[in-house]
Symmetry: C2
Subunit: 257 residues, 2 copies
C-alpha cells in the first residue's frame, strides 16, 4: 500500500504526477509485491475507492492506464472486476512501434539488426520444425507464386513475404529473439505501406526473395543449421541492397516532384 499516512498523499516523487497516475503506479507495485500472476483478481472499484480514499473517476482513470499498458483486463457483471492480464505480443509490438513512429528509422538501420538476428534464428530452427510448421511456411511462400502485375499486388506480396519471417520467429524457443524479429517484420510492413516503398516495380526483389525462402525451408527440413544460416544471411544482404536502392529511388522521386 503506497499511501503516506502522515500527509494523506500518495508517495511517489519527482515531477508532479496526476493522481490517477500515482494510483496506477501504486496498484502496479501492489501487484508485484503480492506476486500476483496472470488471471488473479484485483480489488473491486469500490474497494479501491475506499483504500485510496479517492473518487470513482480517479480510480477508473488509473485502471484505464493499466489497461492501456496491457497489465489488466476488466469484465463487468457478477464475479467481474479487474484481473491481471498478460501483455499480448501484438500489443507490445504496437506500443514499441509508437516509440519509433517519429524516429524515422532508415531501412539501413533495420537491416543492420535484421542481418544479425535472422540468420541466428534460422540456424537455431534447423531440424526442429515438424512437417506442420514447415508446411505453414510453404503455404506462405505459395501466396506469391508469380511476379506481381500491379503495384498493389507487389505491395501485398512484400507484406506476405515479411509474414514468412514473422511466422518463423514464432517457432523459435527464444521469446526475446522471436519478438524482435516479429517486430522488425512489422515495422518494415508499415514502412512499405507508409512510405510507398513498393512503388518502384521490382521483379528482382520478388525472384530472389522467393528463391531464398524456398532454399531456407529446404535447409530447415534437412536439419542443416549452417546452410540455413548462410541462406538467411544472403537473403538479408540482397534484400537490404534492394530495399535501400528502392528507398533512394523513392527519395529521388520525392525531391524531384
Amino acid at each position: 500500500m503506497s499511501v503516506n499516512r502522515e500527509t494523506g498523499k500518495l508517495r511517489g516523487s519527482g515531477a508532479r504526477r496526476s493522481r490517477p497516475v500515482q494510483v496506477a503506479d501504486a496498484i502496479k507495485d501492489w501487484v508485484v509485491e503480492h506476486g500476483l500472476r496472470r488471471g488473479d483478481r484485483l480489488p473491486s472499484e469500490q474497494d479501491m475507492i475506499g483504500r485510496f480514499a479517492m473518487s470513482k473517476g480517479t480510480i477508473r482513470e488509473a485502471m484505464r492506464i493499466l489497461e492501456a499498458q496491457g497489465l489488466i483486463e476488466t469484465r463487468t457483471g457478477p464475479g467481474g472486476g479487474s484481473f491481471v492480464g498478460e501483455v499480448s505480443a501484438e500489443r507490445a509490438r504496437a506500443l514499441l512501434g509508437n516509440y519509433f513512429y517519429f524516429r524515422d528509422l532508415s531501412v539501413a538501420d533495420i537491416y543492420q539488426v535484421r542481418r544479425l538476428l535472422e540468420p541466428e534464428l534460422a540456424a537455431s530452427l534447423a531440424g526442429r520444425l515438424d512437417e506442420g510448421q514447415l508446411g505453414e511456411l510453404e503455404a506462405v511462400i505459395a501466396r506469391y507464386p508469380e511476379p506481381a502485375r500491379s503495384v498493389e499486388e507487389e505491395r501485398e506480396q512484400h507484406i506476405a513475404s515479411l509474414e514468412f519471417h514473422a511466422r518463423l520467429a514464432e517457432f523459435g524457443e527464444n521469446e526475446l529473439l522471436g519478438f524482435l524479429i516479429g517486430f522488425m517484420a512489422r515495422i518494415l510492413s508499415d514502412l512499405t505501406v507508409h512510405r510507398k516503398l513498393y512503388e518502384p516495380h521490382n521483379i528482382e526483389l520478388w525472384r530472389r526473395g522467393r528463391a531464398y525462402q524456398s532454399d531456407l525451408v529446404g535447409a530447415l527440413r534437412a536439419g542443416d543449421a549452417e546452410r540455413a544460416r548462410e541462406v538467411m544471411r544472403d537473403h538479408m544482404d540482397t534484400a537490404r541492397a534492394l530495399m535501400e536502392r528502392q528507398e533512394a529511388e523513392v527519395l529521388k522521386r520525392f525531391i524531384g516532384g
Copy 2:
C-alpha cells in the same frame, strides 16, 4: 473523424471495446491522418466532449490511455491542453519490459541476442567517439576499481557495469540497435536484483568484465573496429558463461532450500 453518422456510434469492430478505448483509437487515427507532429496541440476537453458527444469522464479516460502509451502530454492552465508527445526511450523500455515480465526470459535467451548485437555496435563505434564520450565510459569503469567486498556492493557493481553498455548504446547512430541493447541492459539489471543473481560472490565476473571493458575503450579510441568487435564478443561469451553458472547456482540453492 471516426464517428459513423448513420448509427451515431463509433466505428471500430471486433471485440466489444469500451468507449474510452474507442475514443482513444479515434483520436490516434485523427492525429495520424492530420500528420500532427510532436508538440502539436489536440482539441480541448470541451471540444472533444462536443465532437464525440460523450461525457467528460469518458473523454478523460481516453486521454489517460493515450498518456499511458506516451503519445500525449497534458498541461493545465491557459494555453494548456493536450499535446502530441514523443515517447521517451525510458518509457518504451518500461512498456516493453512489462511484456517480458511474466515470460521468464532465461539469461541464455538474453545473451543469445546480446552476443549478436553488442559486437556489431562496438565495431560501428570504433574511431567515432570523441574524448568526452570515451572519458564518460572510463568514468563508468572507474566506479568499480576493486572487487566488491559485500553482496550489496557486488550487485551495485554489476548494475554499473551494465550501465557501461547502456551508455555505449546511446552513442550509436542506429536508434533501433541502441534501443535494443539498452533494453537488454535494463532487463539484466532487473533480473540481477529480482532473482538475486548476484549472490554467489563472483570475483571472476568482476575481473574479466573490467578487463574487457578497458580493452574495448582502447580499441574504440584506436579506431580498430575489428578488435572492438572481437573484444566485445569475448566479453559476451565469458559473461554469458558466468551468468549462466550463477543462474544455475541460484536455482540449486532455491531447490535445496
